[in-house]
């Protein structure tokens, strides 16, 4: 089992160049060959400003680069297209020095103009980027968002090789934001030529370029021979076959036709695979920045009483729910997953205690129980998990009717506040970047508790919001422990009010063919999900 270490301290160094020694690729790796990856759903787009799906996230990472990047298989920041950077003393201005001689797939050299163009583009409302909000701390973002400016005031081209970004407020997560796909550098002329179809004709600086795209069937990535990182990628080509049911993909893997089933091992087949030693040894297990939870709508009586919410927390048998998914998760005690900085070690959460829960309900004047509804997404194993929750609630006198709906309908019911309880499975939060702030704002903060928001508990605690804002303003590297302590306090405050029942943190299981090589960490890369395409290789 792999434990993923998260070091954010690196990110906040004020001097340059402050990066740890370079990541050393596998010395046994040999170049050449190709692999086949399958996905059930179509790849919607490869436009880095738009793509935000399970399947296209890592694909976009391999076609494009941003100023910042992560060491493969880890959450440690490293420089990408930026060779180095400096931060002003007040932490408000970042000056990035770009690498020289980096060319786009079309052969033109990348310059600071492209960086500015890319950031202006992603924040332009006309682009409809789902990630625009991540750039909210850049000076001039608000003017972009309301349409009164056509470029970001805070992003300045100093010269061809230097770009300066000024923030409007201190933002401890800024370098992580610059490592997001949304901050990828795109070739201006390619965007202008392709217009709205850029997502189907992407041009970046990444390790692979798009060779072929047959709509609804397959995409073929070809090695970028001029890639600026020496020695990688190893593979000559990657073929992504779409429209493949996970069960069929597994059969094809067993038949030697597929190297990695992108959607993972289907739940119904998990035990069968893991009980066969020959197959189980090709499964790589890793953590991920994920928490599965039940939201308790604080506006729905009697759940407006914190004691009722605490009682519900005590009623849920998390170990049994973990068993339902064949042990593919660890029980959760708090909103943050264990591998996230800011996680509160030693906090046991609400233990399983139905008697205590009943007593607490009685104290809240709900001794006779009450009827409510539990919304759940209708794909396996979520309805089965909902049934387990229903049984646990019945034991303390709460009668929860299960509403099993399509994903979009559950999201709607959560966003408009009509759902009293939601099991998050299939829609649960997976962090965009390894920082505790990414687990708060939209899902637990006041900003998310709006019509159409993702805070389905409608929980809004102004004190915690203020503390969160204060924590994210700490950009001084020396004070990072203090910042993490503040975040830990925020989540402990959340647990006291109990708007969620944190249920489990899901583990990832990636299956690969026998011929695939490279460190296990590459197959459960916390950033390039499912695998890090740039560093894996084949042995035959």
């Amino acid at each position: 089992m792999k434990k993923i270490l998260c070091t954010t301290a690196l990110a906040f160094s004020l001097t340059m160049p402050a990066f740890a020694e370079d990541y050393q690729p596998d010395p046994n790796a040999k170049p050449g060959g190709g692999i086949v990856i399958t996905y059930k759903d179509d790849v919607a787009t490869l436009d880095p400003a738009i793509g935000y799906d399970w399947q296209n996230w890592s694909m976009i990472k391999s076609i494009f680069d941003g100023l910042m990047d992560y060491d493969p298989g880890t959450t440690d920041l490293r420089p990408g297209l930026a060779e180095s950077y400096t931060v002003s003393d007040d932490g408000m201005t970042f000056t990035f020095k770009l690498r020289g001689g980096v060319t786009f797939h079309n052969g033109r050299e990348m310059t600071a103009d492209d960086v500015k163009f890319s950031l202006d583009r992603v924040t332009n409302p006309a682009t409809q980027s789902p990630g625009a909000g991540f750039f909210g701390s850049i000076k001039g973002y608000d003017a972009m968002a309301d349409g009164s400016a056509d470029n970001l005031e805070g992003v300045k081209v100093v010269d061809d090789g230097t770009i300066e970004i000024t923030l409007s407020r201190p933002d401890a997560t800024f370098l992580h934001v610059m490592a997001l796909n949304f901050a990828s550098v795109v070739a201006r002329e390619a965007v202008e030529a392709a217009g709205d179809d850029f997502g189907k004709q992407p041009v970046g600086t990444g390790a692979y370029k798009l060779g072929e795209w047959t709509l609804g069937q397959r995409l073929v990535f070809e090695k970028n021979a001029d890639y600026w990182r020496d020695g990688v990628p190893y593979l000559d080509s990657i073929t992504f076959e779409v429209g493949q049911e996970p069960v069929v993909a597994l059969l094809r893997l067993q038949n030697g036709e597929v190297d990695v089933p992108g959607d993972g091992i289907p739940p119904a087949k998990f035990r069968e695979v893991m009980s066969d030693p020959a197959q189980a040894e090709r499964v790589v297990e890793g953590g991920q920045l994920h928490t599965g939870y039940i939201t308790l709508n604080v506006n729905t009586p009697p759940m407006d009483d914190a004691r009722v919410r605490q009682a519900i927390n005590m009623a849920i048998n998390k170990d049994r729910i973990v068993q339902i998914i064949n042990g593919r998760a660890v029980p959760a005690t708090q909103p943050l997953p264990p591998s996230m900085p800011g996680y509160t070690d030693g906090y046991a959460g609400y233990g399983f205690d139905p008697e205590g829960a009943k007593a607490l309900l009685a104290e809240a004047g709900q001794g006779d129980g009450f009827a409510t509804e539990l919304y759940v997404m209708n794909t396996d194993p979520n309805p089965r998990i909902a049934q387990a929750i229903q049984r646990d609630l019945a034991d303390i006198g709460i009668d929860a009717a299960i509403k099993s709906l399509a994903q979009a309908n559950v999201i709607e019911a959560g966003g408009n506040g009509s759902a009293p309880m939601i099991w998050s499975g299939g829609m649960a939060w997976i962090a965009d970047f390894p920082d505790p702030s990414n687990f708060y704002g939209p899902i637990l903060g006041c900003d998310g508790a709006v019509d159409g928001g993702w805070n389905w508990s409608w929980y809004c605690n102004a004190d915690l919001d203020a503390m969160a804002t204060k924590a994210d303003a700490i950009t001084d590297a020396a004070k990072q422990d203090e910042r993490m302590q503040m975040w830990s306090d925020v989540y402990m405050g959340v647990m006291e009010d109990a708007p969620w029942v944190p249920v489990f943190n899901e583990q990832r299981y990636t299956m690969k063919s026998a011929r695939m090589g490279g460190a296990d960490a590459l197959y459960v890369d916390p950033v390039s999900i499912p695998i890090n395409y740039d560093y894996v290789y084949v042995t035959e």
Binding site: A132, G133, A145, G199, G243, V248, R252, A408
Partner: protein, 306 residues
């Protein structure tokens, strides 16, 4: 005939209009917001509002519907919300695969269904007749999802005769076509059986017997052509049911057709794609029915077009 055709075409356009209205209305009242699917989970309220305005989804229902219709008559089916591509491009890329699978599937269901029906009719009341009719009942009732996976497991995984899903060569088409054809074959075998029994009772068959023709000649030259035509004319009407099966079979076999496209679009409320596929399907059904009605009198002069 011309007047009849004109009337039918006007009717067809009205039907398509009705289909588009009902589908659009259903998608409008559906408690699922396409903007939230586009904007994703990290979007700010402002981003969501911007997208809603840009797509015109903040407009009243009739304004949205009118805009869609006026685009449609100019040949513009709109752009996919999530794939950011013209819907016509997406459908055109997938239509050939669907048509190929439909063609192969129809051949399969006819080949299996008609031969089962003929044999059953000739052995009427015997054990083999009963066995065939039970088989046809099973074929009609078996869920296509299960049939598809069974075929895949037995013939592709265990026996290795065919590829495990996918698209490209002739051998790829066999299993999905069979999966589609098995259900339809149940219907056709029953229709063929009753049609054949009907014909075998007719006077001209008795005359043929009286002339001293051989049994095989009577069946093949006299009975079969008369019995088969009304059954074949059913194909046009059958297309609607067939399209429903395509969604399931295309998903299981990873067949890159419009059924798969629709299925994925429905899950993510990609309205322009759902509308586009629905209309293309409705067109196919309308045309199929029209052809069936035109062909019927050519086959059987007793039917008159009115």
């Amino acid at each position: 005939m011309v007047a009849y055709l004109l009337r039918r075409i006007v009717q067809s356009v009205l039907i398509l209009l009705g289909v588009s209205f009902i589908t659009f209305l259903l998608l409008y009242v559906l408690p699922a917001d396409p903007v939230r699917q586009i904007a994703g989970r990290s979007a700010t309220a402002q981003t969501v509002q911007n997208i809603r305005e840009q797509l015109g989804l903040d407009q009243p229902f009739f304004v949205q519907y009118w805009r869609y219709l006026s685009g449609l008559v100019q040949g513009d089916m709109g752009r996919s919300y999530l794939q950011k591509t013209e819907v016509s491009t997406l459908i055109a890329a997938r239509l050939p695969a669907t048509l190929l699978l439909m063609g192969a599937g129809i051949l399969c269901e006819l080949a299996i269904g008609l031969s089962m029906g003929v044999v059953a009719a000739l052995r009427r009341g015997q054990t083999s007749d009963q066995a065939l009719m039970i088989a046809s009942f099973v074929a009609v009732s078996a869920p296509q999802f299960v049939v598809s996976l069974l075929l895949l497991y037995v013939f592709a995984v265990q026996l290795g005769w065919f590829p495990i899903g996918g698209y490209g060569t002739a051998s790829h088409v066999v299993l999905p076509a069979l999966a589609l054809g098995i259900m339809g074959s149940g219907w056709y075998s029953r229709m063929m059986r009753s049609s054949m029994i009907d014909v075998l009772r007719q006077d001209f068959i008795r005359t043929a017997h009286a002339k001293g023709l051989t049994r095989s000649r009577i069946i093949l030259r006299h009975a079969l052509p008369n019995a088969i035509l009304p059954v074949i004319a059913m194909i046009g009407i059958d297309i609607g049911i067939f399209m429903g099966g395509l969604v399931v079979v295309e998903s299981v076999f990873g067949w890159p057709g419009i059924g798969q496209l629709a299925w994925q679009a429905i899950q993510r409320v990609d309205i322009p794609i759902i509308m586009g596929v629905t209309l293309v399907t409705a067109c196919a059904i309308v045309i199929g029915n029209l052809l069936a009605d035109i062909i019927a009198p050519l086959i059987d002069p007793r039917i008159k077009l009115r």
